[in-house]
Each structure stands twice: as structure tokens, then as C-alpha cells.
């Protein structure tokens, strides 16, 4: 674990040069969220902004061939991959927590009523949505490199959104499944479902990435 944390630390040090960009990003979306009074959007953008930090570390690694160098140190391929997923999870978690707290603060400042459960659902939804993007992006980047991988992952994400919209249309217009029943189900099992799905997609993505890195030549 010490080695993995050492690798996470390596990425955090590398991102020092990225902090101004992230801070600017956060300030802009704080302002937009505050003045437009749209909490969900604000939370999503913060999570997205911080989530992008993980992807940025791949650019730095690729530019300096750092993965190649790291593998000459007492570091295994498995630890390199694990560290990226831990970093991704940490940034996403941090983004959602910041977004959640600021949403409460802004709602209070704007004299809006805060529905904590609804906000929690939004947070989990954001976590799942941005998490899904990341778990698609990471294996794609390992497979195709930082630049190509991002394009490939965007294609995959677009396909997934298309499928989701298609299923939604099929349920409501053709199969006539009521969205109310889905809402009722989510109200009962939503938190558990989201947590399970987040864990599941991270584990599957990690396993795919590890297999890619195991076979990869540096």
C-alpha cells in the first residue's frame, strides 16, 4: 500500500502545475451555479473538473514516458494501475463532496429549501455519471494512449448515452413502463443500487486496464 500511495503522491505532485487551471474552473462554475441557482449542474461540473485531473496525469506520464521509468523502480504494473483508480476515485469523491457542501451553502445563501435526500441522490448520480466516464476513459487511454484514448472513450460514452436514451424511449413509449414505478424503486433501493453500480464499474474497469497494462510493452 505504501508504494501505491507513493504513486498517488507522484501524481498529486505532478498536478501542482495544474492547480491554477482547476481553481479557475472551480471559480467559474461556482459563480455560474450561484447566480443561475442550479445546484445539480454546479455539482456535476466540479466533479467533472476534478475528475479530469486523473486524466491529465496520463498526459504527463505519456509525455515523459513516466510509466516506463516507474516500472524500473520497485513498482509493479498492478500497482501502477491501482494507483490511477485510487486517484480517480479520490478526485471524484472530493469533487462530489465539495459540490454537495457548496450546493447546501449556496441554497442557504439564496434562501432556497434544501432537500437533503434529493441532493444526496443528485450527488450519487453525479458520482455514477462522472465515474462511468472515467472508468471508460482509463482503459481506453491505457490501450490507445492519452490522445487517441480520449477520442475512443468519447465515442464509447456517446454510444452508451444513445443506448440509455433508446432504452428510456422504449420503456416509456413502446413498452409503456411507467417512470413512477422506477422512481418508487429508486426511492427504496436507489442509494444501495448506485453504490453497488459505482463499485461494480470501477472493479470491471480496473480488471480490463490491468490486463491491458500486463500485455503492454513500454
Amino acid at each position: 500500500m505504501k508504494t501505491i500511495m507513493g504513486l498517488v503522491k507522484k501524481d498529486l505532485y505532478t498536478l501542482k502545475s495544474y492547480r491554477k487551471t482547476v481553481l479557475t474552473f472551480l471559480i467559474i462554475f461556482c459563480a455560474v451555479g450561484f447566480f443561475q441557482k442550479i445546484n445539480g449542474f454546479f455539482m456535476m461540473m466540479i466533479a467533472l473538473g476534478l475528475g479530469m485531473c486523473t486524466i491529465a496525469t496520463f498526459n504527463y506520464d505519456e509525455f515523459n514516458h513516466s510509466d516506463r521509468y516507474l516500472l524500473t523502480l520497485p513498482v509493479t504494473r498492478k500497482q501502477v494501475v491501482q494507483s490511477k483508480y485510487i486517484l480517480s476515485f479520490l478526485f471524484l469523491f472530493l469533487g462530489v463532496i465539495i459540490g454537495y457542501l457548496f450546493s447546501i451553502i449556496f441554497a442557504m445563501v439564496n434562501h432556497q429549501t434544501v432537500n437533503m435526500v434529493e441532493l444526496l441522490f443528485s450527488a450519487l448520480g453525479v458520482f455514477f455519471g462522472i465515474g462511468l466516464m472515467q472508468v471508460i476513459q482509463i482503459p481506453c487511454i491505457y490501450r490507445y494512449g492519452a490522445e487517441k484514448g480520449r477520442i475512443q472513450s468519447l465515442i464509447v460514452i456517446a454510444i452508451l448515452i444513445g443506448i440509455a436514451l433508446g432504452i428510456g424511449y422504449l420503456c416509456s413509449n413502446i413498452l409503456s413502463i411507467s417512470m413512477n414505478s422506477l422512481e418508487t424503486w429508486l426511492n427504496h433501493y436507489g442509494i444501495l443500487t448506485f453504490l453497488f453500480l459505482i463499485g461494480f464499474i470501477y472493479i470491471i474497469s480496473y480488471r480490463i486496464s490491468y490486463q491491458i497494462v500486463l500485455k503492454k510493452e513500454f
Partner: protein, 286 residues
């Protein structure tokens, strides 16, 4: 265990390149220079050794263990310098120290900063602002500051001015004062190797074409300069290769004393490693 590294019959196939049954050792307490022109297969061999790419055949051991199953503890004993890769250039030397502390259990912070001070490297400046020499020095310092027993160096002196090269060679000499240490150093700057290497391994087009002690190469080998008529008297088994010049022949021989005794040639020069390399690659053998 006699050798730090043993490479036996290693093969790596690419579409347009074949690393063909590579075979050499790095004895404990010695420096092995790995030379060859660009694209000869030096970096590929080092990448195979470090398990960065996968071999198609053969066996590689480091400290007597298969290179693919080295434990973290065994990898702590190796220091590596790669020509084209390191940590991010958006880090400072202080950051590098903090990162390495987390990756090596025997990271010697005092030694690391002793070296940075010795080489006047700024600790708060980003590495991307360093000169090529400074960048290479930080790589070498990082490879040395966890007290390794083996150094694997890929072109550590390329792109450096003579002073920086001398400084690095001095560090390697200092490292070799301990008899349990060894170095495998790849370079195409052969003059550096003459100063530091005990053995030389010469790779050309993916094949090892020469392995010998540096002293033997420099003392025993010779470059015979002769006329066409004189060249005609030479028996094929007495020379390695030759190059036809405008008015004369340059002939590489592996035992100049034997040639002197057997023939009456007056000019047999003492070659340097570069001469030997060039004659091996450019020369002909009928």
C-alpha cells in the same frame, strides 16, 4: 553467484527488426559497456532486461533470479537510468525526493541532497527548466540514492558536454569502488567506455558480434595499414575485416603481435573502440 546479469539466447522479433539470440553476462564487480550504432538493438535489449517489453525466447536473470519474478526488495538493489524517460518535468528536485522516499525503503535523502549540492542542481526549479546535462544528472542521482548494487544505464552521457560527462563518469567510478557493485552501460560514445568499462559487448543489427575485455581490445587488436600488394599476402584467418581506402587498405586484426611476427608490415596502429566498431560494421571480409 558470479554475475549480476545473465542474458542467455534472448530473442525478440518485430516486423522490421530481430534481436537475434543475445547472449552476455555482467560479472559482479565489473562495468560492461554495451555499444552499437543507433538502432542496433541496445535499448531493446535493456528494455527486455528490465521487463518493459516481452521476450520471445531465451532467459534473463538478475542476481540469479528470473527478471520477471524479481521482488520489490530485489528491485530496490537496482538503479536505472533511461535516456528518454523519467518522472514528470513539472516536478522540482524536492518533489522527486519526496516521491522517491515513498517508493524506496532505503532512500537516502542525505545522499540525494549531497549529490544535488555537488552538481549545483537547483532544488526548487522545475526539471523542465533544466539543461540536458542537469536533467541527466538528476536521473543518475535518483538511480544512486537508494544504494543499489547494480546500475543499468541507457546512454547516460549522450547529449552532454565533456565536463558533465567527466563528472558522471567520476560518479560511476566512485560507485565501483565497492567490489560487489556492477554496471551495465549502453552508449555510442565509445571514448567514455574506454575510461570506465572492463568488458565490451558490441551489438550490430540485432546480433552480438563482439564480446571481450576492453583492455584486451585496446592492447591486442590492431589496425594494419598496407598497400594492395601487401594485403594480397595476408591470409584470411589472420584478419577480421578490411576497408579499402583510395591508395591503401586498413585491416582490423585481433592479435597485432602475431601479425608482426608472421609478416613484415611496418604500420600496425593501436586502435580505439570506435575504430574497432567502425571497421567491424563498415569493413568487408572476403
Amino acid at each position: 553467484m558470479k554475475n549480476s546479469i545473465e542474458i542467455n539466447d534472448v530473442v525478440k522479433k518485430y516486423d522490421s527488426f530481430l534481436l537475434d539470440h543475445i547472449d552476455f553476462v555482467v560479472p559482479i564487480g565489473s562495468v560492461v559497456g554495451f555499444v552499437g550504432e543507433n538502432g542496433a538493438g541496445k535499448s531493446t535489449t535493456l528494455k527486455l532486461l528490465l521487463d518493459l517489453i516481452h521476450k520471445d525466447d531465451g532467459k534473463i536473470t538478475i542476481f540469479g533470479h528470473d527478471h520477471q519474478t524479481l521482488t520489490a526488495l530485489e528491485k530496490q538493489e537496482i538503479g536505472v537510468v533511461l535516456d528518454d524517460s523519467f518522472l514528470s518535468e513539472y516536478l522540482t528536485i524536492t518533489d522527486v525526493n519526496n516521491i522517491m522516499k515513498g517508493l524506496y525503503h532505503n532512500w537516502d535523502e542525505t545522499l540525494f541532497f549531497h549529490y544535488t549540492k555537488k552538481f549545483s542542481l537547483p532544488t526548487k526549479k522545475l526539471i523542465k527548466e533544466f539543461s540536458s546535462g542537469m536533467k541527466m544528472k538528476i536521473k543518475v542521482i535518483s538511480a544512486l540514492s537508494h544504494h543499489p548494487r547494480l546500475l543499468i544505464l541507457d546512454e547516460p552521457t549522450s547529449g552532454l558536454d565533456p565536463i558533465a560527462r567527466t563528472e558522471l563518469l567520476d560518479i560511476f567510478r566512485e560507485f565501483m569502488e565497492d567490489e560487489t557493485h556492477s554496471i551495465l552501460i549502453s552508449s555510442h560514445i565509445t571514448s567514455d567506455l574506454e575510461h570506465i568499462a572492463d568488458y565490451l559487448v558490441f551489438i550490430h543489427n540485432g546480433k552480438i558480434i563482439l564480446k571481450d575485455e576492453v583492455q584486451n581490445l585496446l592492447e591486442q587488436y590492431g589496425i594494419l595499414k598496407c598497400s594492395f600488394d601487401e594485403f594480397q599476402t595476408l591470409q584470411k584467418e589472420d584478419y577480421i575485416t578490411y576497408v579499402k581506402q583510395k591508395y591503401s587498405y586498413e585491416v582490423l586484426v585481433s592479435d597485432k603481435d602475431k601479425i608482426r611476427k608472421k609478416y613484415s608490415f611496418s604500420v600496425i596502429d593501436k586502435p580505439n573502440i570506435e575504430d574497432i566498431m567502425v571497421l567491424y560494421v563498415k569493413g568487408e571480409k572476403e
